[in-house]
Every structure is written in structure tokens, then in C-alpha cells.
């Protein structure tokens, strides 16, 4: 097999079952994530999305198969794991799951302190990340005084302080209101512009449709299909997987055929407006 350094994450025939569970959570899963490609992972609850993330971050150990980053296999010794987690960052769905320190600044510094970086560098990186995510004003605030949206941003900042090249986000906009969602997505756009590759697990098909370059569809621990959003959402069997279609795609499909002829389906509202303009 040819090693490709632009493959940031690779699963090769990976199997995983939780201890004492009869059902495998991940079955014979193979996938590749290319650097710079915005990838979304979709599927019903319990299809294995979160388990895939735990495996990708070395928090669970595959029963079979190999997980690699830039051609290097994931090893489960402490030093190798620390190096791996510096490259592959994971943001959990519930921010409470990963916020450990008493204040915002202290929490952002946590991963950096674990790397035993010099204090001056920790200070510089914390200040930079707090500024980047609009958290400077909240630096000394205790975490329990923050809103959910702010907690989400702190958890993202804490991971981004490590400067990972691949960021895994589990349901990043779950429970957020529209303003908080907008703020969070703006932060993601900034991260992406700075060169970090994103893999997002979500149920928000409208978001996936306009944002992703590549889609992975999982079902019962298996990778069922993958492709561009246009390819995936053109599949007739999607409804059987309980996934449905994005609103824009539904509107597009309901338009008269002559209006759609010769045009690729729009991925944003603006593109739709342009496509149907007389």
C-alpha cells in the first residue's frame, strides 16, 4: 500500500466492540481523511460516530485493524499517544466532559501544561487562543458561570491551543441557539482558514450540505457510503437510513425540471437564488 503523507487519518479494516457488549460498535471500517478536506460524518444515533472519534483519538483501542496518521500507525504507549493527541484534537459533544480546570484561562492551559511546555510559551499560546476565540474578557471567570455556547468555545480553544492538524468535532452545534451556533461556526471557519482539517459528526444535514466537501455515512458501525454532498444526497436509499434530505436539496428537487436543467444543485441559499433567477 502506498503511504500518502496528505492522509491525516486512515482507518484500515478496523473493528471495535465495547467491553461486555455483544454488538460490535465498529465493523471492518476503512476510511481516509485528506488534509484540507472538510469532511462530515453522518448517521443515526448509535451508528458508531462517537466511537469512531474515540478510536481516532486513541481513547479506545481497536480490536482489529490499523489506525494511521500521515502513514504512521497509532501506538498506545504514553509518549506516542501524547504526540498523537497533539496532532489529532477531539472536541466532545458535551463541553462539561472535557473542561477540568476552575477558570477559562486555566482550562485552556491544561493541555499545554501536560506537554510540559515552558511557562512563557504557555502564557503566549493561552493569550493568543483566548483572543482568537473572543474569550479574553472571560479569562479569569469560573467555568460554571459560563453559558453553554461559551463553554463550547472554551473547550474548542483548549484543544486548539495544542495546534492540532486534524480536529474532530462531535455534534459541535448540539443544544446551541442560533446566535451561539453562528459564533461557533465562525470560529470553525477561522480554524479551517488557518490550516486545520476538520471532521465533524452531526445530524444537521442542512449544515452538512452547505459546508462539507466530503461526506461519510455510517450505519450500524459500518461505513455505508461516502462521496461529495451532491453524490450522497442523490442516492435513492438515503431515506431508508433515516437520514432525509437537506431543505435546499428538497426545494431544488421540487422545482420544475426545465428550471433545473443543466445546473448542478445549489449548496447555499444564494446559489439557489441565482439558479432560479429569471
Amino acid at each position: 500500500m502506498v503511504e500518502r503523507p496528505d492522509i491525516l487519518l486512515e482507518f484500515d479494516a478496523v473493528d471495535y466492540s465495547y467491553p461486555l457488549s455483544e454488538m460490535p460498535a465498529i465493523q471492518n471500517l476503512s476510511l481516509q481523511l485528506t488534509a484540507g478536506q472538510k469532511t462530515a460524518l453522518i448517521g443515526q444515533n448509535g451508528c458508531g460516530k462517537s466511537t469512531l472519534f474515540l478510536l481516532a483519538d486513541g481513547l479506545c483501542r481497536a480490536n482489529r485493524g490499523v489506525i494511521k496518521s500521515r502513514g504512521l500507525p497509532l501506538r498506545h504507549d504514553r509518549v506516542a499517544l501524547n504526540q498523537w493527541r497533539q496532532r489529532v484534537g477531539l472536541v466532545f459533544q458535551d463541553p462539561e466532559q472535557q473542561l477540568v480546570a476552575p477558570t477559562v484561562a486555566a482550562d485552556v492551559s491544561y493541555g499545554l501544561c501536560n506537554l510540559e511546555l515552558p511557562e512563557a510559551e504557555i502564557a503566549q499560546r493561552v493569550e493568543q487562543v483566548l483572543h482568537q476565540f473572543g474569550l479574553s474578557e472571560l479569562a479569569m471567570r469560573p467555568l460554571h458561570q459560563l453559558s453553554l455556547g461559551q463553554k463550547k468555545r472554551v473547550s474548542l480553544a483548549g484543544v486548539m491551543a495544542l495546534r492540532p492538524e486534524l480536529l474532530l468535532l462531535d455534534e459541535p452545534t448540539a443544544y446551541l441557539d442560533p446566535i451561539q451556533t453562528r459564533q461557533f461556526l465562525a470560529a470553525l471557519t477561522q480554524i479551517e482558514a488557518e490550516g486545520t482539517t476538520l471532521l465533524i459528526a452531526t445530524h444537521d444535514l442542512d449544515f452538512v450540505y452547505r459546508w462539507a466537501d466530503w461526506l461519510l455515512v455510517m450505519d450500524q458501525g459500518r461505513l455505508l457510503l461516502e462521496g461529495t454532498p451532491e453524490q450522497v444526497f442523490s442516492r435513492p436509499d438515503l431515506l431508508e437510513l433515516g437520514l432525509g434530505l437537506p431543505l435546499l436539496k428538497q426545494i431544488w428537487d421540487s422545482l420544475p425540471a426545465d428550471l433545473r436543467q443543466g445546473q448542478s444543485p445549489p449548496r447555499t441559499l444564494e446559489q439557489l437564488r441565482l439558479a432560479i433567477r429569471p
Binding site: 462539561e96 466532559q97 492551559s109 506537554l115 493561552v126 469560573p142 460554571h144 483548549g158
Partner: protein, 260 residues
């Protein structure tokens, strides 16, 4: 708890270095422990003035907390004031016969009780000043700098974080139960409370497991270490006031000892 925590972050003395506030609170506490009631009352008044006037802690809230603590302490005073003996002693102020016994108030008992009351009042005012103006995190980091074992500081910080997670979980469960009439009758209250405790235990274990994954994902290496920016401004004016106040109190104590 939440109000106290919030105020410790938002009070008007927030910019002062924690060591300056701790020095003031702890120094005044030492003075209160070794002085006479008039000086102790002066300390209580002075520290309360700092907490309410300088730190901006709402007076009604401060009064409520202080009175709550003092009421708790006052419950122990009757034991000191009231005495029981087979005859009325010479220093009795007041007494009533109870069968063959005499229940009485003595001069000595009253003096002892007022001394304890004044000392408690002054000590409480000192501790409340520390609690209202220094966030627990900064206090524990200060203890670490003063040589307190790292493991104790880590435990304190984690306990602090978990207290709020736990209160949050309790509130959610309580709300869910109340919304479905869980506390309508005494019997239902008992049943719901037992379910709450069970649910709390279960959720705490779940939370522990989730948090373990969370800290591992962030490179946990068997030690909780954090970095905090230092954004304090030492105030010479406040320091001068503290020193002048202490000097005044020491003079007062000296005069009490000479003439009192």
C-alpha cells in the same frame, strides 16, 4: 454558595493581589484571636466595612450570611450562660429554683459568653472578608505557593469544580421531579428524594467516566496542572490603610490591657 462564588469574582477589590487580601484577613483574624472584646468588636466593624463598602458586597446579603453564622454560634451560648447547682453562688446575677436545684446566670458565665461571642463575630467577619473577596481558586493557588502539598491543592480545585457540577445535576433532577409532581405529598417527597440520591450517584459515576475520557483526550499525565494569568495591581493606599488600622487596633488593645 453560588452568590458567594460570583461575588468573589466580581467584587470591587478583585484587582488587588490575593496575597494582600489574605494578609489583611488572616492578620486581622490573628489580632481578633488575641485581643479583648472591645477590640474584637472594632475588628468586626472594620472588616465588615471593607467587605460591604470597599468590596461592594450587598449589605443585605452580608448581613444575612453573618447573622446566619452568628445564629448558629449563638445556639451554643446557653450552655455557657446557664448553670445548675444545688445552691445559688455569690456571683449569680439571676436564678430560679428547679426542684432541689438552682438554675442561674453567673457573672463569670456572662463574661465568658460575651468574650466568645465577640471573638466569633470578629473571626467570622475576617473569614467572610476572605471568602467574599478571594476566589477559592486563587486562594488554593496561593496556598500552593506557600508550600501546601500539590496533591491537596489539586484535590481542592477538583472538588471545587465538582461541587458545581453536582449542584447542577441536583437542580436538573429536582426540576424534572417537581415538574411531574414528585414532591406533592410527604410520602412522594420521601420517594422522590430516594430516587434523587440514586440518580445522583448514577450520574456522578457517568460523569466521572466521561470526564476521564475528556482529560485523557487532553493528554492527562497523572497531574492536574494549570497556568493562570496574573492580572492584579498592588495598592499602596489599601496597604497603608491596613497598616494604620492594625496600629490603631494594637494601641486600643494595649490601652484595654492597661486600663481595662
Amino acid at each position: 454558595m453560588n452568590a458567594l462564588d460570583t461575588l468573589s469574582y466580581t467584587n470591587r477589590l478583585r484587582h488587588l493581589p490575593p496575597w494582600q487580601k489574605l494578609l489583611f484577613g488572616a492578620g486581622s483574624l490573628l489580632l481578633a484571636l488575641g485581643s479583648h472584646p472591645p477590640v474584637q468588636l472594632a475588628i468586626a466593624g472594620w472588616l465588615s466595612f471593607w467587605t460591604v463598602h470597599y468590596a461592594g458586597v450587598p449589605a443585605h446579603l452580608y448581613r444575612r450570611v453573618l447573622l446566619g453564622i452568628m445564629a448558629f454560634l449563638a445556639t451554643s451560648l446557653p450552655v455557657l450562660i446557664l448553670n445548675l447547682a444545688d445552691h445559688l453562688p455569690a456571683d449569680a446575677v439571676w436564678g430560679i429554683p428547679l426542684a432541689n436545684w438552682q438554675l442561674y446566670l453567673s457573672h463569670r458565665g456572662l463574661a465568658q459568653a460575651s468574650e466568645i461571642f465577640c471573638r466569633s463575630l470578629a473571626s467570622t467577619a475576617c473569614l467572610l472578608f476572605i471568602a467574599f473577596t478571594i476566589p477559592l481558586i486563587e486562594l488554593s493557588l496561593l496556598f500552593a505557593r506557600l508550600g501546601c502539598p500539590a496533591i491537596l491543592v489539586e484535590l481542592l480545585l477538583l472538588a471545587y469544580r465538582f461541587i458545581f457540577l453536582l449542584t447542577d445535576t441536583v437542580q436538573r433532577l429536582l426540576l424534572a421531579q417537581t415538574a411531574r409532581g414528585g414532591y406533592r405529598t410527604r410520602q412522594l417527597t420521601l420517594k422522590s428524594a430516594s430516587l434523587l440520591i440514586r440518580g445522583l450517584l448514577q450520574r456522578t459515576v457517568e460523569r466521572y467516566q466521561q470526564l476521564t475520557l475528556g482529560v485523557r483526550a487532553r493528554g492527562f499525565n497523572h497531574q492536574f496542572r494549570f497556568w493562570q494569568p496574573q492580572l492584579y495591581r498592588y495598592s499602596q493606599r489599601h496597604m497603608t490603610e491596613i497598616l494604620a488600622g492594625w496600629l490603631g487596633l494594637l494601641t486600643g488593645e494595649l490601652l484595654t490591657r492597661i486600663y481595662g
